[in-house]
Subunit: 155 residues, 3 copies
């Protein structure tokens, strides 16, 4: 059986985890849009204070950073620092043929850690809690990457 076939349960596990993480990252873009529309600000480009149908009453204050928008941007940035690497590491990890239960624990564990990280960051929990949740995901990422590297080296 082809390893990159949805009939392979380890690959299907990866695809579910990967698509959930992609939707999570895209969701951050939309959440930024929603918050910018709500506060009518947090814009970044000079042309964004031109009068348009979506911005009928422009004001130069719309270009100032808005904490409600900046919070989502920081969460999004944290995704950009983590998710693209998880997406590729997870795909390559499938090639090492791990047992299904282990793949599920690691990949779904990563997904859970990232959704909890979002919940903690979005609701402004302490830095300690956010860092703990990030660490769980990061250690899973390091584990699957090292496991894959070792397999590729032939050990």
């Amino acid at each position: 059986m082809d390893q990159f076939d949805l009939q392979n349960p380890v690959f299907a596990t990866y695809v579910i985890a990967a698509t959930l993480m992609i939707l999570k990252a895209v969701g951050m873009s939309w959440l930024t849009v929603i918050r910018m529309m709500k506060v009518k600000g947090g814009f970044r480009s000079p042309e964004d204070i031109r009068k348009t149908p979506l911005n009928p009453a422009p004001d130069s204050k719309q270009l100032e950073p808005n904490e409600s928008v900046e919070r989502v941007r920081r969460i999004h940035m944290n995704d950009l620092e983590n998710l693209p690497f998880f997406l590729v590491a997870g795909l390559l990890y499938v090639v090492t043929g791990p047992p299904l239960w282990l793949a599920q624990v690691l990949l779904y564990g990563y997904v859970a850690s990232r959704f909890l990280h979002f919940a903690a960051y979005f609701t402004a929990q302490t830095h300690d809690m956010r860092a703990t949740l990030w660490t769980v995901g990061s250690l899973i990422l390091i584990f699957i990457t090292c496991r894959t590297l070792i397999a590729a080296l032939g050990f």
Copy 2:
């Protein structure tokens, strides 16, 4: 036939779309370099105002943000928020075996939306136009990701 073989026209479509998007993103790095050299500024690190062959007359003003450079950096940032996720989502979408015409509409449509987004952002069109073009690409990305997730869940 292997699904990840260039003989598979859906995979070839993905590879063409993916490589064009990678070249687009790398192009933003080079455009940043070109603009920094043109304005001799927009640098970010303290050591960048040391006297070197490429910077014979350094000045502390070279570390100030330069809008001509910052505009390209914002476009680049928008790519980083979108393209890595498209690259993985598109690859996984190939596994679902979509009809060729649909894959072409979605993947080439995404590529077109991103090049038009670049043109609109680079020439400082209204936020409304830029947002509309970004939305087209984002909806395509959400569609192929959801379609792949549903296939992986076995529906």
Copy 3:
């Protein structure tokens, strides 16, 4: 033989290069954490100056940018602009069936250029040296991407 099998030496070469680059990027996150703990600052969110076990003596100055932390963040940002695209471009390049020696020169050459770029940036070498090392990696990335695009177009 399946092209995405570790028995394929070109794919194994890619997996080694890719996992090293993923570990490098994740390492930048950890280096940021280490430096933030060392200087007890360089934080970004308002809640980060709440009193917690890991931050027993909070101070509003902890939210100011700290150059020692910012340097690692700039290096990290440079990774985000480059590595996700290399990771996908390298995977697709495997499909074109390049000779092993060429794949090794390009993929390991890229890895070497990025580790040297890190060393130059981390120790604040001149912008010229950093730019030169970045250029080597960027040209390799452009080469493998164009080669793959040409193969996908059927030439």
